[in-house]
Symmetry: C2
């Protein structure tokens, strides 16, 4: 039995995850679990976990860490009461020797005692906030994937993890750019403020009509291209590291956490506004 | 030759670090390198680094990670161009088997090829901001150490690291508490917003006049006690883990980085306001 997107959209996060876990839903998570932090996923062996965590710490805009599992424990207990990372994501990508080797809907058979799971904040969070402020996002209105580009911005390496920063692009009316910067900077766990505004060539992008990932979005009169650090960056770093086995979410198919989008810190038990206990 | 605090106060961070490195200054760093992020220090062997980094990620209010070294490399290259963590802190505490075994002014002889150095944000940052807003801080005006208490708030464990959250207390005029919360919440790399406002008993503190660390500050009429997560928390977790050898800064004797206090992300190369390149 499958549950439709429109029904799931109105359900709380625990029910959405239950539907995903029960194989009743295996599609994208945009718009689900409204108000809650969604996360990209990277699972890799403990032997590379410290270097990967250092890579994320050094590149917090593309790789904002929202949760890290204990080694071998699939329960992401800081992000929700019942999150089993082996089953609670709608679709997973399996990488072997740095190459995509297939997609699956659970990783119960692939889970290893030496695995460490990383949850990294994603752009859905600030996109919701921009839409609520009345800023239209072309890719959402046209049901396409946001255009993403390999920029000329170097990330800070850590061990085998390195590479250029991948950025996502959204056309923003010139008069609202400052507002967009202010809104997105409120979400440091979701890429924060843009990394670049204006001329794409300044960050090594020669053709906005030919994104490296996702779908092209048209240039709009009176609007400027605004670029955010993108969660594909760690996927590229993982691919280029060429680890024997590593698992990510399938793009768009995120982990829905119990952490508020407005949380000061990524811990669902500390979800009080700004964490202050009075 | 030694250089006086009043002279150093007017010097840029690189000169302050040079004086510390050259053994010309070995005292506290409050008020030095104005406008720059200062950091607590924890150095431990790589075998415990992943667990310690998970502990900090899970407890970001007491343990905000601002930088992590490569294993065996003492240069903290994300925090400044020339920071050698073996020499650039005025005084270090050496812990053996979880017990304080002495203090030194450099660790050139103690540095190991398997060491990983962690820099963690400290309260100096938001204290400067509060003072600039005209909010008096008793311990600074009276040249004492801020009172710190072992609270009843549990931290989230990771491997051998666990324990209660240590909090620092500042008396704040009741009418300015909201402002103080708003100001300190701008500095998530420096403990962010308070964890508790008001009745100390609610977080397990029975006697404000008897702090566990630092000096008592008097209760002031019209003021309420405000409690922040404190950087002594990871020191307590390290002590209770009982590692054979681990090194921290001596309290008050911090690392002065080249990262702006206002930086969105802890990387001195990305110090543009909010990191936006336009």
């Amino acid at each position: 039995m499958t549950i439709g997107y429109d029904i799931l959209k109105e359900r709380p996060a625990s029910e959405v995850r239950a539907a995903i876990r029960g194989c009743e839903y295996a599609s994208h998570t945009a718009g689900l679990g409204r108000g809650l932090l969604q996360a990209n996923l990277a699972i890799l062996p403990e032997s590379h976990a410290l270097d990967f965590m250092r890579y994320c710490q050094r590149n917090p805009k593309p790789c904002p860490i929202s949760g890290v599992s204990d080694t071998g424990n699939p329960m992401m207990f800081t992000l929700g009461a019942d999150i089993d990372i082996r089953t609670d994501i709608p679709a997973y990508n399996i990488y072997r020797d740095g190459k995509l080797a297939g997609s699956v809907t659970d990783i119960l058979d692939l889970w290893q005692e030496d695995f460490v799971a990383f949850a990294l904040g994603c752009s859905f969070t600030f996109e919701n906030a921009l839409q609520q402020a009345g800023i239209a996002l072309w890719h959402i209105d046209h049901n396409t994937t946001v255009p993403m580009f390999r920029s000329s911005i170097d990330t800070v390496p850590a061990g085998p993890f390195s590479g250029k920063m991948v950025v996502s692009m959204r056309m923003i009316p010139e008069a609202r750019v400052d507002e967009v910067i202010a809104i997105s900077s409120k979400y440091p766990l979701a890429h924060g403020a843009p990394v670049h505004v204006g001329d794409p060539a300044k960050i090594g992008i020669t053709n906005l009509a030919a994104p490296d990932w996702g779908d092209a979005a048209p240039e709009t009169p009176g609007a400027v291209p605004v670029f955010w650090a993108c969660g594909v960056t760690p996927q590229v770093a993982i691919e280029s590291a060429g680890l024997p086995l590593c698992i990510t979410h399938k793009p768009g198919h995120m982990l829905i956490t119990d952490v508020s989008e407005f949380a000061e810190v990524p811990n669902y038990k500390l979800n009080e506004p700004k964490g202050v206990n009075r």
